[in-house]
């Protein structure tokens, strides 16, 4: 059954996603997103050496929050806003879980809106990317 604004309740969890981006996935993200900072693919880059590893693009995680919301929404509306803060680094080949929960549902100016809290957790369950998204339903 398609998601509708009427059948959403505050506190509803979004179907979670698990991702384990390896170096190849990060290279694909660099190509698609245009960020070729070597700290996301080159272990010999000075900043990677100082950190001890290459790291997952913050914006790969941000975009994954957008993907979570898009998958949940199933094109029954449009995404108005997606934001996040990068609180912790994530490393390649480590599983991250992308999660979300409905925080608020309201109407404004004739629009049916929903705000969701979204975030990523690393393999240890530590929150690395807390964020929010706002969706406008059809």
């Amino acid at each position: 059954m398609a998601l509708t604004w009427d059948n959403i309740k505050e506190g509803d969890a979004l179907p979670e996603m698990k991702k384990t981006p390896g170096v190849t996935q990060l290279v694909k993200y660099a190509a698609g997103g245009g960020d070729f900072n070597p700290m996301h693919h080159d272990y010999n880059f000075f900043q990677s050496k100082a950190i001890g590893s290459i790291i997952v693009h913050g914006r790969f995680k941000w975009s994954s929050l957008g993907e979570l919301v898009s998958n949940w929404l199933g094109h029954q509306g449009r995404i108005k806003k997606v934001s996040c803060q990068y609180r912790g680094m994530d490393f390649p080949d480590q599983e991250m879980t992308v999660k979300g929960v409905v925080e608020r549902k309201w109407q404004e100016g004739g629009e049916k809106l929903v705000e969701v809290a979204v975030w990523t957790e690393n393999a240890e369950g530590k929150l690395t990317t807390p964020g929010k998204a706002v969706v406008i339903f059809k």
Partner: protein
Amino acid sequence: MAEKIEIKDEWKAQLGIDSPPWTYEVTTTSIRAFARGVGYTDPVYYDIDVARAAGYQNLPAPPCYLGTPVFIPGKSDDTFSGPVNSGMSLLQFELVNVLDGGTEVEYFDSICAGDILTAVNRLVGLDVRESKALGQMLILSLEMEYKNPTGKVVMISRGQTILY
């Protein structure tokens, strides 16, 4: 690790100034490349027939895809792909390490393949913060505004760049 960062007057002088505009393309190919990079399996972002069946005129831009800046050697940043004349070079801040602090996008309309957007960016904040791991950090707050060919603002992205 920077001992102490002082915000210079010439940095402050750049606050609120729009960069020259630059063209960002949204194409079927660039949307697929972004969707693959993120790992989408939703065919709406790949298959035009499926996108049309879902009510779109063409492939829609996935959330967080900010268009692809036109790349011209010498005029574009070879690492980050945006225009080098975007008003501001990170090099002037004299700190070599760069991290992303946070990102936000706000949409004022739908964006889909075929859209050609014109964007300007501006520095809207300069802050010094202390991190246990990295020492003093300079936080740049940046804003980017994208217009469609009719001049309507369709998207604004905001972000914090951390230099240390």
